[in-house]
């Protein structure tokens, strides 16, 4: 059939009756349209929610096709620590995950962990850059922020040295987070990957003491990621008694295998991740543990998972209470004196301020009081070289300080935060350092629109339960410090990944092509094209796209 419009000038040209041998393609029905659909791939909400901007949708898409190595490498473009973050992250990606609107959000950290472990098991290494650049960068602080910065700088070809005060690299990853959450073997494997890029690790090196300022002259730029060093004190009577310890100090001992005696009854003060780590570690020492917190569970800053697991393991909680004094005998703690609190008006953090209730005192017997009410930075040495405010180094969003050669990131800039935030900051700083040193203008990448849940069409997804991770015996088992969460199996991971909607990224489902009433969408080599000569603008394609990829714009008529 011909597609041209046929016109007859003479009756003799016409067939005997109304016989049609040509098609309708001359009729460009695109002229009927006043609103136009177009393919507009968007950022998945998980990616938008991840502080490190990991391409979660991307690595899930690769891993579903069993391209695990490529998936792991994709994570490394934003985060060198999938095996770590998959275990310890507070996973804001899950809060953003659109799957939650259908049943439950995708178990993203479990997938990330699987890929991180896969990379370790298979000895995968990051590719070394082709060229090594002349500039050397010094990273001060071997925690997640500094290590991340070192990783990304090394990938660009810079020569990096990481100075770490402690005997081993890792910072809070080693000295803060306990073994049952993050095995040291995993940490060491992730660290090795950074070393394999040519990064020089210098542990046992305190800047200003072990490392002279002259020695630092060879470096073109500096990244400061020293975190928060000192534990806050309660400021109560007899806080220096035996049996009262700072939470960080306790964790350091635990995490370096130093023996710690906590006795039979432990009281932990605080509501953050450190407090949870402290409580659960104490439990594993065989103690009865009570966490005393001045607000309620809802206000606790610790990751919900941690609180939940602590509770499951048998940690007790005493909310709306705070210690006001330590009772001792022979210089050793025997009891804690506490006061009840109630919630008043919100404070600067937005949470309701705890207010002591008059006359509500009570005692709790305790063999140890472990104080985990927050940490403070030790930034005095940097006061001379860049702006500090309330002890925190002042930077812009990319880690630039008031000093052109100095960059900073992690808790020393943000205050107490998370591993993934530190990693993100380290990478952000690596970008600006690289730009600065190469004399190039720094251009932050443009981001695409984020898919809104309303853009999706969940009719195409079946309800499916989230995978359940197997757990070890945990605190009560024969090896109390063995990793509690044991990861997902390969089958489980594949099942879990099949729950991912792939928001904003086309996976070739064909809906647009199938449902177009005007046959105006065609498919070639996995991409779809709208033929605007015929598209009437009914927008069925937009509506039926499960992933919210199509957007519309009106056409002025």
């Amino acid at each position: 059939m011909s597609s041209k419009k046929r016109d007859f000038r003479d009756e003799s040209e016409m067939p005997l009756s109304a016989v049609a041998a040509d098609d309708m393609r001359w009729n460009k029905t695109g002229s009927w349209r006043n609103i136009k659909p177009f393919y507009d791939p968007k950022t998945s909400p998980c990616i938008a929610s991840c502080p490190a901007g990991e391409n979660i949708q991307g690595y899930i898409e690769l891993a579903r096709k069993e391209r695990y190595e490529e998936a792991a490498r994709l994570i490394w473009q934003n985060n060198p620590f999938p095996a770590i973050c998959g275990r310890v992250c507070y996973h804001p990606c899950m809060d953003g995950c659109a799957r939650g609107s259908l049943d439950r959000s995708v178990f993203i950290p479990a997938i990330e962990r699987y890929l991180g472990d896969y990379a370790i098991e298979h000895g995968l290494r990051e590719k070394r850059p082709e060229k090594t650049l002349d500039d050397k960068v010094a990273v001060i602080g071997g925690g997640p922020a500094g290590l991340s910065c070192a990783f990304f700088l090394a990938k660009k070809g810079f020569r990096v040295t990481v100075f770490e005060a402690k005997p081993l690299m890792g910072g809070v990853l080693r000295y803060g987070i306990p073994e049952y959450r993050l095995p040291k073997t995993v940490l060491d494997a992730e660290l090795k990957r950074i070393e394999d890029l040519g990064v020089e690790f210098r542990p046992d090196s305190i800047v200003g003491k072990d490392v002279t300022l002259e020695a630092l002259g060879q470096y073109s730029a500096f990244f400061v990621g020293i975190g928060l060093q000192t534990s806050r004190r309660l400021g109560i009577e007899n806080e220096n008694s035996k049996g009262v310890m700072a939470g960080l100090e306790f964790l350091e001992k635990i995490n370096t295998g130093e023996p710690v005696e906590v006795g039979k009854r432990v009281v932990v003060v605080g509501g953050g991740n450190t407090a949870m780590d402290v409580a659960r570690s104490s439990l594993r020492q065989g103690a009865h543990v009570t966490v005393v917190y001045r607000r309620t569970r809802d206000e606790m800053p610790a990751i919900e998972d941690e609180v939940h697991e602590a509770n499951e393991e048998g940690v007790h909680f005493r909310f709306l209470s705070t210690p006001v004094g330590v009772i001792t005998k022979n210089g050793r703690i025997t009891e804690i004196r506490c006061q009840e609190m109630e919630l008043g008006e919100p404070d600067e953090s937005g949470r309701r301020r705890p207010v002591p209730k008059e006359g509500t005192y009570f005692n709790m017997p305790a063999d140890s009081l472990l104080v985990a009410i927050g940490e403070k930075p030790e930034s005095k040495m940097f006061e001379a070289v860049c702006s500090i405010s309330s002890g925190l180094i002042v930077t812009d969003e990319y880690g630039r300080t008031s000093n052109r050669k100095i960059f900073a990131g992690g808790d020393v800039v943000s205050g107490a935060s998370t591993v993934v935030n530190a990693v993100a900051r380290g990478r952000g700083a690596a970008e600006v350092i690289a730009a600065e040193l190469s004399g190039k203008q720094f251009d932050p990448k443009k981001t695409k629109k984020v898919v809104a849940i309303a853009d999706l069409n969940t009719a195409y997804f079946l309800q499916k339960d989230r995978a359940q991770m197997q757990r070890s015996d945990g605190a009560g088992g024969r090896r109390p410090f063995a990793e509690v969460n044991m990861g997902l199996t390969c089958e489980q991971v594949q099942e879990e990944m099949s729950r991912c909607f792939s928001c904003g990224v086309c996976d070739g489902c064909d809906n647009c092509y199938v449902f177009c009433p005007d046959v105006a969408i065609s498919r070639h080599d996995g991409t779809y094209t709208i033929d605007y000569d015929y598209c009437k603008g009914c927008l069925i394609c937009v509506q039926e796209c499960p992933r919210g990829i199509l957007s519309t714009e009106s056409e002025g008529k």
Binding site: E11, M14, P15, L16, S17, A18, A20
Partner: protein, 392 residues
């Protein structure tokens, strides 16, 4: 071979001789014998055709339209209300240019129910574009079936052959018949101009605006006119092949006739006898039988009737208020000749009332009595105690 056949069975034989491939029909008195015999023929295999026993005449025509569109020779038969019910689809068959042949047994329309013969059913289809041929004998009926296919397939228009109820349909006569093996000497296999062919897909009957509909109708009109000669040649060829031909009209003893009687159908047979008798008595009478009614054989009718001094048309039908339909057609045919022949319009035989020699004599008496018709229409034999006939 010669057989004693009633008119209906002559039609069945005609369809068989024409090697029809699809038949769809619904029974109605007095057509039923046509389809009954065809049914037997299909069942026994002596006729290789599919017979769709449809659930109404409207569906019958729709079905043969479908089969003709698929490119095979198709046939149906009906009468009276069945034909009326087919009316919409007759238009469709014409517009679709499908050479279906339809045999219609002329039967009066109700209410009240009347199963006897008159021509209002077929004449109500006058403007559909259906070719119409009126038969006088069972032999003619058999022969005309084949001729109808030949004409229809040549001009791509459906054709209807008409026979009187009971006088032909149920009256046995000797008919010389043959089968498809002989029939194909005259009627080659059907080669459609266009048909439903997935290897060459086309659409038929799409929405057409005033810009092209006009020309498509003009084509039908032209092919209708063309059908006159085609019918003439088809009849002549039939004569050459089988020794029998009928013409589009038949002049019977019109030489020197001053008054020409015009008839159609079985009234013609009776008229022949009456004309003979009256000619014996010296009356200058002749007879014109109209066989092809649509397309109207204008030239033949003009040629014969302009020679007459009077024309008396007998209509076994009525176009209410205007009179006999054949009469109306003939008046109209004569107009542009500028020959003004006085034309008497007689109505007789409606509802199967017998048209006897007495009736014909009465008609001819009236026609000869006056120069000019004193009434638009003469209804012969209306029961009226005062008059032997009444007008209007």
């Amino acid at each position: 071979m010669q057989k004693v056949l009633e008119g209906n069975h002559a039609i069945s034989w005609g369809a068989k001789a024409s090697d029809v491939k699809v038949i769809a029909a619904y029974p109605i008195t007095p057509q039923t014998q046509i389809v009954e015999l065809l049914s037997e023929m299909c069942t026994s295999g002596e006729l290789d055709a599919k017979f769709i026993k449809v659930e109404s005449e409207h569906s019958a025509m729709a079905a043969v339209i479908g089969s003709a569109a698929a490119g095979v020779r198709s046939f149906t038969a009906t009468s009276s209300h069945g034909l009326l019910l087919m009316h919409e689809m007759l238009h469709w068959a014409v517009g679709a240019r499908l050479p279906i042949v339809l045999a219609n047994v002329n039967r009066a329309v109700g209410p009240p129910w009347n199963i006897w013969t008159d021509q209002n059913d077929s004449l109500s289809q006058r403007d559909t574009g259906l070719i119409q041929i009126y038969c006088e004998s069972n032999q003619e009926v058999f022969d005309t079936t084949l001729q109808a296919f030949k004409v229809a397939e040549t001009v791509s228009l459906p054709a209807m052959l008409v026979l009187d109820a009971f006088f032909l349909s149920h009256t046995s006569e000797i008919v010389d018949v043959f089968g498809a093996d002989i029939g194909k000497k005259y009627l080659p296999p059907f080669k459609p101009v266009d048909f439903l062919d997935p290897d060459n897909p086309k659409a038929f009957g799409n929405l057409t605006g005033p810009d092209y509909y006009y020309e498509l109708r003009h084509k039908i009109h032209k092919d209708h006119l063309r059908a006159i000669d085609v019918a003439r040649r088809a009849d002549a060829e039939f004569g050459k092949t089988f020794g029998r031909s009928y013409g589009l009209v038949e002049e019977y003893r019109t030489e020197g006739a001053e008054t020409i009687l015009v008839t159609s159908g079985t009234i013609t047979s009776t008229a022949r006898v009456v004309i003979d008798e009256r000619r014996e008595r010296g009356e200058k009478l002749g007879l014109l039988k109209i066989r092809l009614f649509r397309p109207f054989p204008l030239d033949d009718v003009r040629r014969v009737l302009t020679r007459a001094k009077k024309v008396a048309v007998i209509d076994r039908n009525i176009g209410f208020s205007i009179g006999g339909i054949f009469a109306q057609e003939i008046r109209s045919a004569l107009w542009n000749t500028r020959v003004h022949v006085p034309l008497f319009s007689f109505i007789a035989g409606i509802g199967g009332r017998d048209v006897t020699p007495e009736v014909l004599n009465e008609i001819l008496d009236i026609a000869s009595a006056v120069e000019y018709p004193e009434q638009e229409t003469y209804w012969i034999g209306v029961k009226d105690e005062e008059l032997s006939y009444t007008g209007r």
